[in-house]
C-alpha cells in the first residue's frame, strides 16, 4: 500500500465529507430539522459534542479510504465512486430503519439518503483519483 497517497486521499476525502456535510446537512437541511426541534441537541449542547462530529467524520473518511485502497488497489474514479455508492446504500438502509423508529419527517429521510449517496460517491471518486499505487503508475508508463 502506498501510505503517502493513502494519507493524501484520506485528507482529501475528509475535507470533502466534512465540507459537504456542513453545506448539505448543516445549511440546506436546517429548515427541515426545525420541524422536529425536540429531536436535536440545543445549540450549546451541540457545541460541547462537536468533537464527536469531527471524530465521526475522520473515522468515516479513513475507513472509506481504507476500503477503497483494499477493494480497488489500482484506484480509478469510477470504480471507487461505485464502491462509495454501495457504502452509501448501507447508510440508506440505516436511515430507513431510523425513519420507522424515530419521528423524523420524510423530508429529512430523503435529504439524508440523497446526501449520503452524493457524499460517498464523490468521496469515493476523489479517493480513486488520488490513490494510485506505484505499481499501476509504473505499468502505465
Amino acid at each position: 500500500m502506498d501510505w503517502r497517497k493513502f494519507f493524501i486521499s484520506f485528507v482529501a476525502a475528509f475535507g470533502f465529507i466534512f465540507f459537504f456535510g456542513f453545506i448539505w446537512y448543516g445549511k440546506l437541511m436546517h429548515g427541515a430539522y426545525q420541524e422536529v426541534p425536540a429531536l436535536w441537541r440545543p445549540e450549546a449542547d451541540f457545541g460541547s459534542h462537536f468533537s464527536w462530529l469531527v471524530f465521526g467524520h475522520i473515522v468515516m473518511a479513513f475507513f472509506l479510504t481504507l476500503l477503497c485502497a483494499k477493494f480497488v488497489p489500482a484506484g480509478g474514479a469510477g470504480t471507487c465512486a461505485l464502491l462509495g455508492l454501495f457504502v452509501a446504500l448501507i447508510y440508506v438502509g440505516a436511515h430507513l430503519i431510523t425513519f420507522a423508529v424515530q419521528p423524523i419527517t420524510s423530508k429529512i429521510l430523503w435529504g439524508w439518503n440523497v446526501g449520503a449517496l452524493v457524499q460517498f460517491a464523490v468521496a469515493g471518486a476523489i479517493i480513486g483519483v488520488i490513490y494510485k499505487p506505484i505499481s499501476s503508475a509504473t505499468t502505465q508508463a
Binding site: G21, A38, L39, W40, R41, D45, F46, H49, F50, S51, W52, L53, F55, G56, H57, I58, V59, M60, F63, L64, L66, L67, K70, F71, V72, L82, L83, F86, V87, L89, I90, Y91, V92, G93, A94, H95, L96, I97, F99, A100, V101, Q102, P103
Partner: protein
Amino acid sequence: MKRFVFAFFAAFIFIVLWGWFYNGVLLKDVFGEVQSLFRPREEMMGLFHWIIIGQAGLALSFVMIYASGFAGGGIAAGVRLGIMLEILAFSARCAFYATQPFPAKLLVLISIGGFIEMIVTGVIVGAIYKSAGARTS
C-alpha cells in the same frame, strides 16, 4: 448469481432476527429511557415495512460489496468487510450522537450490537461463497 441470492437471503434473515432480538428485546428498557426520541409503538408498527426494507438494503449492500471485491477471501474476508462496514456505521453514529440527545450508553450498546451483527453477517456471507466456490471447483 445463485450464491449471491442465497447469501443475500441468509444475511437478510439473520439481520432481521438479530435486530429484533438485540434492539427489540435486549435493549428494550434502554430505549425506553429516551422514549421521547422515538415514535410511539403503534406508530412504529405502522411503519414496520420501512425497517424490513432498510434491513434488506443493508443485506443487499453487504453482499454486493463482498461479491465485488472480497469473494475470494472466504469467511475471513467476510469478517474483515463486516468490521470495516461497522466502523463506517459507527462513525455515522458518532455524528448522530453529536446532534441528537442520546445517552452515551445507547451509542455504546447499539455499536456493540452492530459489530456482532456485521461480523456474523460476514461469516454467513463468506461461508456461503466459500462452500459454493468449493462445490464448483
